[in-house]
Amino acid sequence: MELLSLHDISYAYHNLKGETPALSHISFSVSQGEFLAIVGPSGCGKSTLLSMIAGLLLPEEGDLFYKGKYITDCGTGAVMKVGYMLQRDHLFEWRTIYRNVILGLELNHSLTGENLDYVSKLLKDYDLYAFKDKKPSELSGGMRQRAALIRTMAIHPDLFLLDEPFSALDSQTRLNVSADIAQIIRSTDKTAILITHDLSEAITLADRVLVLSRRPARVKCEMPIRFAVDRSDPLRIRSTAEYQLYFNQLWEVLTNEQADAPKG
């Protein structure tokens, strides 16, 4: 079932020096339970697109639909719970881990016993319960990112928006944490849109990869990703022939995009 669709979306940033187009006539849709990855050159407008889906920006042209219902003016936040994970974990140092993960519940005035039990369960499931009274600076990068995920999951989001949430981690932690988080999202049958620069990450985690052109971003191509092996092991996936094929195809699309870019 189609959960969210974007039709002909365009957006530009304005200042006194002029107009900077960020998105140009973008159309795509996401199905319920799907994991979509969006890749593209740096600064092409990927984060702008995610902010628009989250309802933080309104499109200048085009329309957004939620299960076929027009939501352009109110954004996704008005019709469903959106869980947004940013590039850094942004855990607040003046709060303990527990008070950080219940931040969304506080903001939504939903600190019910049931929700707090759910948070405790998540902390136990992801091995953070023993650290719940610690400060964020006392945790490793991977633990902090898991805490950020729990903070996002605590509000029971229908849609996860992941804006390069693993980019601040070292490569080994990144591999493990990204696989863990993707597994957690899949196991709960949630829908996710991941922004990433990393082609390997996009292929190993997503059901479909969307390639954007350089700024102003257009949809360059869409590529469904299917693997015969279990997706929970990122290293195993990366050694398969399908992975190599997908990687080469995506690499070629992005290389052509770079080659088409105006020089200087």
Binding site: G83, Y84, L86, F92, W94, L103, G104, E106, L107, K135
Partner: protein, 273 residues
Amino acid sequence: MNRQMPRKADGISDNQRIFLKAHRRHHHVVALSRLLLTAAFLLLWELAARLQWIDAFFFSSPCGIAAYLYHMIADGSFFTHTGITLAEILVSFLLVTVFSLFAASLLWYIPHLAEVLEPYLVILNSLPKSALAPLLIVWLGTGTDTIIVAGISVAVFGSVINLYTGFCQADPEMLKLIYTLGGSRRDAFLKVIFPGSVPLILSNMKVNIGLSLVGVIIGEFLAARRGLGYLIIYGSQVFQLNMMITSIIILCVIAMLFYKLIQNLEHYYRKKY
């Protein structure tokens, strides 16, 4: 070769013990040097006055000051004058802190208001505040009100500008996080801006206590019949150098105590958060 340093029953290794001892010694040396510097200065001053290298009538002497201080304590004037100045500084400081926090929060909350008021704040901040004191006497008369307003006027505009600038420098991604979790601008202020600005607020308070003291003394110079500022100006008129310098020293001690108090508050906050 990997050498394992022996540990005592308290779990501290010998190397750590040596480090702690050196650290303590360093602190003692610094404290002793400060004490010796003060003692040397006082000794030199006293000698210079007694051997008539300087004129004790104009420069006073540590023993003269100590005698005057004893006299002030004995007749109770120390407590009256110090108490009044202390109360005026405290009231000015508290009002500056509360008002500047409120004003800076309002400016952050309503960006349009900040845009409109910015040039006025800059002008008021750069105005020499001592020029305002005679005007305050005309408006409010001579008395405690004028002195407290003078104390406030010196610190408040700079404090508002500093706090507002600090609030605006909050990480936009943290604010984005609040909005994506369904929070409002009010939530962004209460959950991110204010708690994230506590170190800034504390360091701003350290500056404000000094400025409030300066403002109160300016006010007392012009509009008081009691207080340390009054004693300084009265002492200069009747050439009572002991009275002037004793009052200045008491002011230094008050400033240092307030500074230490806020510094301890800052340490407590850092330790806790």
